[in-house]
Amino acid sequence: MLDQIDPSRAISEAADRVARTTRGGLLKQAGVGAAILLGGVCTPAAAAATSQKQDQAILNYALVLEYLQSSFYTEAERMGALKGALARQAEVVGAHEREHVRALRAVLGPVAIARPRFDYRGVTEDPSAFRDTAVAFEDLAVAAYKEQAPRVQSKELLASLLSIHSVEARHAAWIRYLAGRLPAPDAFDDPLPRRRVVAIVEDTRFIVAPAKTSGKKPPRFTG
């Protein structure tokens, strides 16, 4: 039964749309996003991956995805191009994603990865591009969290990630409804491996530079 469902068609399609929207005028920055997303917290190759380090790597991966989303909604709100239900969605969901960032950073403490620099290439200024990107982001987040859940070693951490995972699914359904699409397109949502997620995020070229932070600066919670 698991095999009968195309694991990620919906997400790929959404991601393709993101890519089409944003492919014009690219900066040659390919690789930056992948380095960040795949890097996570890099453990020395020789060291055995302890369960704790594995959990930290998962958290940092989740953190980058939350950065990607929270900065997107924050910027969309600031641009002020969204009206009505879409503006309300960005306001509520943006607050959630910022809260997820804050929570993940609090748990990771000193090993939290820094916020990269993003360039959303105009999708935060155009309501329909915003909507399509938000659909892709939310469906992607659901699939990414789902893939990681069974790998999480700490039960408490797992409980927290599951509680975020289902909120991302609520976000996905909400924005899909506003986009005139079926909020729950399939009976089962499928997980998406990290490499696939990375490839999709890479394709958007939204991540333009890793954060420079490596000193003792306090983290920024600007969105």
Partner: protein, 216 residues
């Protein structure tokens, strides 16, 4: 919970570069970071406001118990939407919602049933009263049902073995989508909180009984 967040952040450039000799401090920073982070992880990772549920060591036997509880919820949902559609009082977007969701819940029930095999329990008799015949009551019941279903799955997640969790995770986000969809149609905030609080089996059962969706 965020007060203590400061200190060193390992740069991604250091991560991307394998030549540690050029970054003599990298390993040292990482070691310290991991130790500090470890203390935090061990000290409890709960995200603000989430209740701490008791967890027990996963086992195949426990999976079967939990999956039977999941099966009860899916059986309840299947019966609820089937009866609502049979009454034929839903119109427009609510009707579409009930039709789509009914199909999903049947697929979930079948999935959980076949995972349980001979251990699957039979569905009890459900009595929904006017919740399936009065559209106003239907919408409130659907929101409660879907919110409760996802909270119940979230609450059981940490008690499942990894493979059972993988399967349950494919269902729980669909329940969350249903919940948000029902809430949009009911004029409620589809995602009322930044994190969904999990429910224990007892809490979820009590919530369903309070709503008159489960006998007892």
């Amino acid at each position: 919970m965020a007060e203590q967040v400061t200190v060193e952040v390992v740069s991604e450039n250091a991560c991307a570069d394998d030549d540690t000799s050029r970054h003599p401090r990298r390993v040292e920073i990482l070691e310290r970071a991991v130790v500090a982070g470890g203390a935090l992880l061990a000290g409890g990772v709960l995200i603000t406001g989430l209740p701490r549920l008791a967890t027990s060591a996963p086992s195949a036997k426990q999976d079967a118990e939990i999956l039977n509880f999941a099966l009860l919820i899916e059986q309840l949902q299947v019966a609820f939407y089937a009866e609502s559609l049979m009454h034929g009082r839903l119109r427009g977007q609510w009707r579409q919602f009930a039709q789509v969701v009914a199909g999903h819940e049947r697929a979930h029930r079948q999935f959980v049933e076949s995972a349980l095999g001979s251990k699957a329990r039979k569905a009890p008799r459900f009595r929904f009263g006017e919740a399936t015949s009065d559209p106003g009551k239907f919408s409130a019941a659907a929101v409660a049902l879907e919110d409760t279903a996802l909270a119940a799955y979230n609450g059981q997640g940490p008690n499942l073995t990894a493979s059972a969790l993988g399967a349950a995770a494919r269902i729980v986000s669909v329940e969350a989508r249903h919940a948000a969809w029902a809430r949009v149609l009911a004029g409620q905030n589809p995602a009322p909180q930044a994190v969904d609080p999990p429910a224990t089996e007892a809490e979820a059962t009590a919530a369903l009984k309070r709503r008159g969706l489960l006998d007892g």
